[in-house]
């Protein structure tokens, strides 16, 4: 037995010992996931001379590192914007990459202090925006906003944007995020169905309930909703409350004021919406459907109304029957005492673009934004992806699909009465988890309006009391 000292057991034992030693050693050798504080040196940014043609002082031959989310909008629109940038700065090299999971791709680069110069932070893998701002990872965009527009003479970039755009990316009065696509949130219906039945979209809550009753009598479910993402239904509830009580309702919610969710306006709205639950005006089984499934039921004509944003038309393109002609409308008014008129609708800028604070070519990143926000860049975007941009008037003269045309009209009718809220941007968790769960219980009929609002308020209080969330306030 000459090999007795090297049998299976001893080898394993020694291997285990080696493993224990190798562990910490490897840990020391590898750079820690926490990153290294010295690597994020902010000096060494590319800077050129400012001039009339180059108001941001871009270094003309500096490379530009661009990361685009490859989702619903694809990447072609971004390539067109980059081509515009190259036209202005022929010596610059633009590195374009399109990824699906922004967080997995970019989180290490943010930690490392080597982020790209321009990021389209969107999609399911979006990096928490409140978190990015709280950790000082983003550049403040006022140089861009105050620079002259590329092709709208006599106006700054800020002045060319639709109302609410700058606010939607602002935290405590400073703008860090450029939301580029304009989204209208409302209630969607098929104009074909309504014309065929001789129905008219209800302008008041009583008309709405009367129509629901009529629909149900014909065997059609009046409503369905994205059951596994019930927060979609929080939008019409909050909208109804804002129209009833004025923009103050949204301000209180965004600022996490005590009792914001249990205000009289929210109570009135929740009581009203409870009727579609109580009277079983919601398509049976809706709570078990995800967004695609419920929206498809709606497209198949199994339900008349659904709450969504203006991406709905694009999202449902493949399953929408010919001539369905979807249109968006504001939530019905509760009564004559409403502070805002029926036409007031929720519109907001979405699809966030950012320039990281540690971007080497920070000025170039903003300059690319300036190109996007030119009339030419915005028209190109709207034409390519069938979505509105935040540049005022950029959709004029472009043939848009039916649903989007209705969204443009709704926005115009709404005018200065348009409203929005941003608590979902400040505190992702509050909308995506807590209000979401509360909506699920409420619209499945398991909680009363009072319990629903109490659950939302409990979530808001939880966030308010949690010191690990950076708090933001807005004034208007």
């Amino acid at each position: 037995m000459a090999q007795s000292d090297l049998n299976r057991r001893t080898v394993l034992r020694r291997a285990a010992a080696a493993g224990i030693l190798a562990g910490p050693a490897a840990g020391l050798l590898s750079s820690c996931a926490l990153g290294d504080d010295t690597s994020g040196d902010t000096s060494g940014k590319y800077e050129g001379t400012k001039s009339d043609k180059n108001p941001l002082g871009v270094k003309e031959d500096a490379p530009l590192d661009v990361v685009i989310f490859n989702g619903g909008f694809g990447e072609d629109y971004a390539k067109a914007h980059e081509a515009m940038y190259k036209e202005t700065y022929p010596k610059a090299e633009v590195k374009h990459s399109a990824v699906v999971e922004i967080n997995k791709e970019l989180q290490p680069r943010f930690v490392d202090g080597t982020p790209p110069d321009f990021v389209n932070n969107s999609g399911a893998g979006q990096i928490d925006q409140g978190g990015l701002v709280a950790q000082g990872a983003l550049a403040e965009l006022s140089p861009l906003l105050d620079a002259p527009s590329l092709d709208v003479p006599g106006k700054t970039v800020r002045e060319t944007l639709l109302p609410g755009t700058v606010e939607s990316g602002s935290f405590d009065g400073k703008t860090y995020i450029l939301n580029y696509a304009y989204t209208v949130y409302g209630i969607w219906y098929s104009t074909k169905l309504f014309t065929a039945k001789g129905w008219e979209y209800p302008k008041t809550w009583d008309d709405h309930i009367a129509l629901c009753k009529k629909m149900k009598a014909t065997g059609l479910a009046p409503w369905t909703y994205q059951g596994k993402h019930p927060r979609y239904m929080s939008w019409p509830v909050i909208s109804t409350a804002i129209k009833f009580g004025g923009p103050q309702v949204a301000l209180a919610i965004d600022n996490l004021e005590p009792g914001a969710w249990t205000s009289d306006a929210m109570k009135a709205a929740a009581d009203a919406w409870y009727q579609i639950v109580k009277d079983k005006y919601i398509l049976e089984g809706s709570p078990g459907l995800d967004h695609k499934q419920s929206q498809t039921e709606w497209c198949k004509g199994n339900a008349a109304f659904i709450s969504c944003g203006s991406w709905l038309e694009n999202e449902q393109k493949a399953v929408t029957p010919e001539g369905f002609n979807m249109a968006v409308a504001p939530t019905p008014s509760l009564g004559s005492g409403d502070k805002l008129p029926f036409t007031a609708i929720r519109g907001t800028a979405g699809e966030p673009f950012v320039v990281p604070a540690k971007a080497k070519n920070e000025r170039g990143g903003m300059e690319l934004m300036r190109h996007m926000l030119s009339m030419k860049g915005a028209k190109d975007f709207t034409g390519k992806v069938s979505s509105l941009s935040v540049v005022s008037g950029a959709a004029d003269g472009i043939t848009l699909p039916f649903g989007l045309t209705s969204a443009v009209k709704a926005l115009a009718d709404s005018g200065s009465n348009g409203f929005n809220w941003v608590y979902n941007v400040y505190y992702r968790k509050l909308e995506r988890e807590l209000v979401d769960a509360a909506c699920g219980e409420f619209f499945s009929g398991r909680t009363t309006p009072a319990e629903f609002l109490a659950a939302c308020q409990k979530g808001a209080d939880l966030i308010a009391a949690d010191t690990t969330f950076k708090k933001y306030k807005r004034n208007a």
């Binding site: 490897a26 840990g27 990096i127 078990g288």
Partner: protein, 303 residues
């Protein structure tokens, strides 16, 4: 000559050990460190906060709720999977009563083996998507079948109803895993001498008695292994639940793994998420040790 073995051994052992150390041990060790910080995962800035994250966890009702769901899984998943696995393996291997003296499975057992094992070949995400469609309350296979049979009253909203969602997910977990254990138990049964079963059959033992009095004691080692595997699986459950329900409705299917994921990738609280991971590491470790201890029995020698 003897010394010549070491370089060879080291050449084979060191690369995998180094890889293991770098990709497995080192991240584990780092997460212990990160759990003591308030790192938010988007900048290199962080502060050491001691045990604050662990204290926070004590008061986090959502973590407790998720842990409770994991504990339910821990009890139910191994129990149901092993019971069903044993039953099916028995029927496939020794349950047949057709022949006179030979011990065989029920008729068509070869086909059943393939059917039971099939889910094992699907990835977790495919299983999740598949069953999310089966449970679709309007057009899903399950409700359609129930309605076709006239059992409309049994058709539920399944994944949309907190009263059923957890059980619906548990059923999928059992379905997805039982095939493997049928094969595992089946293989173990093949090593049990046939004459024991023949003797039992001659003595007039029913199938149930045979299963409880003969199969289970003789397969105890295998069952123990199955128990540990399934317990670890029950403490995870992340992938399937992430695909099927994302923890909803109203957190009724939430598990700790999903909490960890949401804290890290949703709210960018990496310090806190790491603390949850560290706690789960110890919970899983204790459960494994405990179940090995509790199920220890005298080994039965077959020959």
């Amino acid at each position: 000559m003897r010394h010549g073995k070491y370089p060879l051994l080291l050449a084979f052992l060191l690369p995998p050990l180094a890889l293991y150390g770098y990709f497995v041990v080192s991240p584990y060790a780092q997460s212990f460190l990160i759990a003591m910080t308030n790192w938010q995962g988007l900048s290199p800035a962080y502060e050491f906060v001691g045990f604050d994250n662990f204290k926070r966890m004590m008061g986090d009702e959502y973590v407790w709720n998720a842990l409770l769901n994991n504990l339910w899984l821990l009890v139910l998943l191994p129990l149901l999977t092993i019971a069903l696995g044993l039953f099916l393996a028995t029927m496939l291997n020794v349950g047949g009563r057709g022949g006179r003296s030979t011990v065989t499975g029920v008729r068509g057992s070869a086909l059943y083996k393939v059917i039971y094992f099939a889910p094992q070949m699907l990835s977790v995400s495919i299983v999740g998507v598949l069953w999310a469609e089966v449970y679709n309350p309007r057009s899903g296979l399950l409700n359609s079948a129930l309605r076709a049979l006239g059992l409309d009253g049994l058709a539920k909203v399944w994944l949309g109803d907190p009263a059923y969602a957890f059980w619906a997910v548990l059923a999928v977990m059992v379905w997805a895993n039982v095939g493997f254990y049928v094969v595992l138990f089946g293989a173990a049964m093949q090593s049990v001498p046939r004459d024991i079963y023949e003797a039992a059959a001659l003595d007039g033992a029913s199938r149930l008695t045979t299963l409880v009095r003969i199969t289970v004691p003789l397969l105890w080692d295998t069952i123990q292994v199955a128990w540990v595997y399934l317990a670890i699986l029950a403490l995870d459950g992340f992938a399937l639940i992430h695909v099927m329900t994302r923890g909803g409705p109203n957190f009724s299917t939430d598990v700790v793994g999903l909490r960890l994921y949401t804290e890290a990738f949703g709210d960018y609280k990496w310090g806190y998420a790491s603390a949850i991971g560290v706690v789960m590491f110890f919970v899983t470790l204790s459960v494994t040790v405990l179940s090995l201890r509790l199920t220890r029995r005298e080994r039965i020698e077959l020959s």
